[in-house]
Symmetry: C2
C-alpha cells in the first residue's frame, strides 16, 4: 500500500492539499428561517427552536446562581486546579498583548494618535454536544475580560434535560461571566444578532460551532454584527525530519483526527522513513483510543508528503496555511523564520498541540481553511478596536493647509477645501 | 421652521439616529451573475462586463509604463508636492504603529510568543467615477507597503476612453505599486476573489466603492477572501458647545454632505444658539459650493440635536458610533476620555475632517454604519496577521502536563491526552 505522496510539483499542490468542502446550500434555508423568526418574534421563536432542536422546554433561559453552585460542587478539586492553572497562563499571555497608545507629531502642530477601546458588548458561543468544551470558555472569556468588554454574554445549548455541563458553568463563573444563557445553535446566533427580551444584542460574536452555527455567524455579518472569523474543519500539519520521534508525531496527528471525521491531518517530511514509521505508529496508537471510528474516518483523508528540501517544505506549508503547525526538525529556526501563513505554531518534541489547545497560554480559536493567509487567531485585539485621534494647532494648519486644499480641489471636493480655507482666512484676519 | 431636536430621551435615539438604509436585494442578483461568470470564464467575462458597465473595449487591462509617465507629466508640481507631503505624514503615522514581538514564559519551560506577518497578496480597490480618489491610493498603498505585503494589486475602473485618472496613476506609482489593473466594479472584486489570467487571486480586498462594489465585497467573503470592513454611506457627527465657531462647524458638516446624497451629518450641542447659528452658516456657505444639489439633498436628513449635558452628549454619541467625530468644546479632555465608539476623532477648532481625509497622517478608510462599535478603521494591522508560537521544554511539559491531561480527559478527547502522556512516559523512561 503506497500512501506517500513523493515530491509533488507545485502544480499539484492545489489538488493534494484540497480541504474537505462543505455544502452550505441546504443549511442556508433553515438559517434564514430561524433568523427571520427570531427577528420577528424574539424569545418566543427562540423557545420554539430550542424545543425543536434541543428537545427541551425551558422555564428560564438564564442560568441561576444555584445551578452554578451545584456545578462547582460536582467538579473534582484536581480539575478545578487544572482549569485555574490554564486560566492563569492564558491571562499571562493575553495580558502581555496590551499595547501602548501610538502618539506622534507627523509634522509640527499636527498630532495624531491611536488608542484602543474595548468592544462594549460581545457574545461568546460555546458548543454543547457530547463533549463539554469548557476550554473554549477560557479562550474567549479571559481575553474579553482583559480587554475590558462591559457586557459579556455567553450562549450555550442545554441538553434535553435543560442542563448545561458542570465544567462549562464552573469555568464561566470562574471567569466572572455574569450572563449565561441556555440557548444554542442558529437561534442563539440570531438572538445575539437582533437581541430579544432575554438575549442582549451584541456587536461581535465569537466562538466555534457546527455547520449551522458557522452559516448563522456568516449571515449575522449581513445584519451589522462582526464575527471573530469564518470557520471550517480543524486541521494540523506536522513538519518532521528524520530527527523527529514518530510516536510523538503520530500522537499529535491522532489528537487532531479525533476532532471530527472532516478533520484534516498532514505530515510533511524530508525523510521517507519518518513517514512510514509515523504511519505505523498511527496504526498502533489508534487501537487504544475511544474515538477510533471518528479517527479512522478522518485518517482516510490524511496526507503523507515527502519533499526534497526544507525550502520545498516551507513553500508547500505556506501555500497551505495550516491552522495548527508543528515543527519537529533539527532546523527549527529556519522553519520559524519562514512561517508566513499559519494560525499557531508548536515547536519541538515536547510541544504537543494539546498544550496550546488547553493550557500553555496561547489561544485555540484559530483560522482554518487557509484563512491564516489573511486572519489572525483570536487574541486580545479581537476584543478591542483602534480609534484614531488628531489635533492640529493653528500653526499646524497653516503648514499643512495648502496641501489639503490642493488635494481636495483635485478630487473635486470643494467643500472639503473650504473647511480649510475658512479657517486659514480666520487665522489671517485675527492676526491683522 | 423648527429643525432642532430638543433633549431627546434615550428611547427615541434609535429612530432619530437611524442611518439611511440601503436595499441590496436588487443588487445581489447582478453581483451573483458577475461572480459566476468571472469564476467560469475569467478574463473573457471581465472584459464583457467592462464593456457593458464601463462602455469600453480594452486592448490590455494592464497600465503601461508609458501611461504612468504621461500621467506624471500632466500633474502640476504643486499637487505633486502636496501628495508627497501627505504620503510622508501617512508613512510616519502608520510606521509608528509597528509593534514588537510579544514573548513571555507563562510558566517555567513554557514559552509563548506572538509575531506579526504581512498578508502576502492584497487587492486595493480605488473607485473611478467623476472624482479621482487618489487620496485613497495613499491610504491603502502606504500601510500595505510598510506592512511588507509582497503582492499589491490595484484595481480601478477605466473611463469610456479606457483611461485612468492621472492623479491615481501618479500616486500609485509614487507608492511603488507595480500592478495596476484597469478593471472596476463587481468584475474587479470577482477577479480578485477567484483570480484570472490577468488578475491575481488575493487574500484580502481593501477599499471603498459604490453599492455594487460593497455587495460584491460582502459576497467575496463567502469564497474565503477577507475584506477590510463592511461599508455604508459616509457620516460625520460634530459635538460643539457655545465656545465653538459656527462657521467652522458648518464648513465641516458641508464637507461631509458633499460626499453623496446619502451622507449623514449630525450636530450635537449643549447650546441651542450654536445649533441655530450653525444652521444659518450652512445656508450661507452652501450657496457657493459646486456640489450644491448633492449637499442640499444630503442635508434634508441632517440632525441638529440639543442635549442637556456633556454626559448626555457622550452617551448619545457612543450609542451612534460615528465614522468621523469632531469635538469642539471647552471640555475636550472629557469627550476624548469618554469616546468608546468612533472611527476617527478630530479635536479643536483647527482640525477639520479634511485634514484626516487627506494629509495629517491618519487613515480615512473608516467604519461607517455603526460598525465603529466592533471594527477599527484601516491601520497597519489591517495588512498583518498575528501568528502565535510556543515551545515547551521537557521540564515545562512535566509541570504543565497533568493539567493538559485532566482537561483533555474532561472534554472526552483522549487522543489529546495521549499526546501528553506518551511524552511524559518517554521522559520518565529516559531518566531511568
Amino acid at each position: 500500500m503506497e500512501t506517500i505522496i513523493k515530491y509533488p510539483p507545485q502544480s499539484t499542490w492545489e489538488s493534494i492539499l484540497q480541504r474537505p468542502t462543505q455544502s452550505v446550500e441546504a443549511i442556508e434555508s433553515i438559517v434564514n428561517e430561524v433568523f427571520l423568526a427570531v427577528k420577528q418574534n424574539g424569545d418566543t421563536a427562540v423557545a420554539q427552536y430550542t424545543k425543536r432542536f434541543d428537545k427541551v422546554n425551558l422555564e428560564s433561559v438564564f442560568v441561576s446562581h444555584e445551578e452554578i453552585e451545584t456545578a462547582s460542587d460536582a467538579i473534582s478539586e484536581d480539575l478545578k486546579l487544572a482549569i485555574q492553572q490554564a486560566k492563569s497562563n492564558i491571562e499571562v499571555f493575553h495580558s502581555a498583548q496590551k499595547t501602548a497608545k501610538v502618539d506622534v507629531e507627523t509634522q509640527p502642530g499636527v498630532r495624531c494618535w491611536q488608542q484602543k477601546r474595548p468592544i462594549e458588548t460581545v457574545g461568546l458561543y460555546i458548543p454543547g454536544g457530547t463533549a463539554p468544551l469548557f476550554s473554549t470558555v477560557l479562550m474567549l472569556a479571559v481575553p474579553a475580560t482583559i480587554a475590558g468588554c462591559n457586557n459579556i454574554v455567553l450562549c450555550t445549548p442545554p441538553n434535553s434535560e435543560g442542563v448545561i455541563a458542570n465544567e462549562i458553568l464552573y469555568t464561566a463563573a470562574l471567569c466572572g461571566i455574569k450572563t449565561i444563557i441556555k440557548v444554542g445553535g442558529i437561534q442563539a446566533i440570531a438572538g445575539l444578532t437582533f437581541g430579544t427580551s432575554s438575549i442582549p444584542k451584541v456587536s461581535k460574536i465569537f466562538g466555534p460551532g457546527n455547520q449551522y452555527v458557522t452559516v448563522a455567524k456568516q449571515l449575522a455579518t449581513k445584519f451589522g454584527v462582526a464575527i471573530d472569523m469564518p470557520a471550517g474543519p480543524s486541521e494540523l500539519l506536522v513538519m518532521a525530519d528524520k530527527t523527529a520521534n514518530p510516536a510523538f508525531v503520530a500522537s499529535d496527528l491522532l489528537s487532531q483526527a479525533e476532532h471530527g471525521i472532516d478533520s484534516q491531518v498532514i505530515l510533511v517530511s524530508t525523510d521517507e522513513n519518518m513517514l512510514l514509521e509515523t504511519e505505523n505508529q498511527i496504526r498502533i496508537q489508534t487501537q487504544n483510543l475511544d474515538r477510533k471510528p471518528i479517527i479512522e474516518k478522518a485518517l482516510e483523508n490524511k496526507k503523507l508528503i515527502l519533499v526534497k528540501s526544507d525550502q520545498d517544505a516551507v513553500d508547500l506549508i505556506n501555500y497551505y496555511g495550516p491552522e495548527h503547525y508543528i515543527i519537529c526538525t533539527d532546523n527549527n529556526p529556519f522553519f520559524i523564520e519562514n512561517v508566513i501563513n499559519a494560525g499557531s505554531v508548536f515547536i519541538g518534541a515536547y510541544t504537543p498541540e494539546s498544550a496550546g489547545d488547553y493550557a500553555s497560554g496561547t489561544n485555540h480559536t484559530l483560522p482554518t481553511n487557509g484563512y491564516a493567509k489573511a486572519y489572525s487567531g483570536v487574541n486580545l485585539d479581537s476584543f478591542l478596536k483602534n480609534i484614531t485621534f488628531q489635533e492640529i494647532t493653528k500653526e499646524g494648519l497653516e503648514t499643512i493647509g495648502t496641501t489639503i486644499e490642493l488635494m481636495a480641489e483635485a478630487e473635486g471636493l470643494m467643500a472639503h477645501k473650504n473647511a480649510v480655507t475658512i479657517r486659514l482666512k480666520s487665522i489671517v484676519d485675527e492676526s491683522k
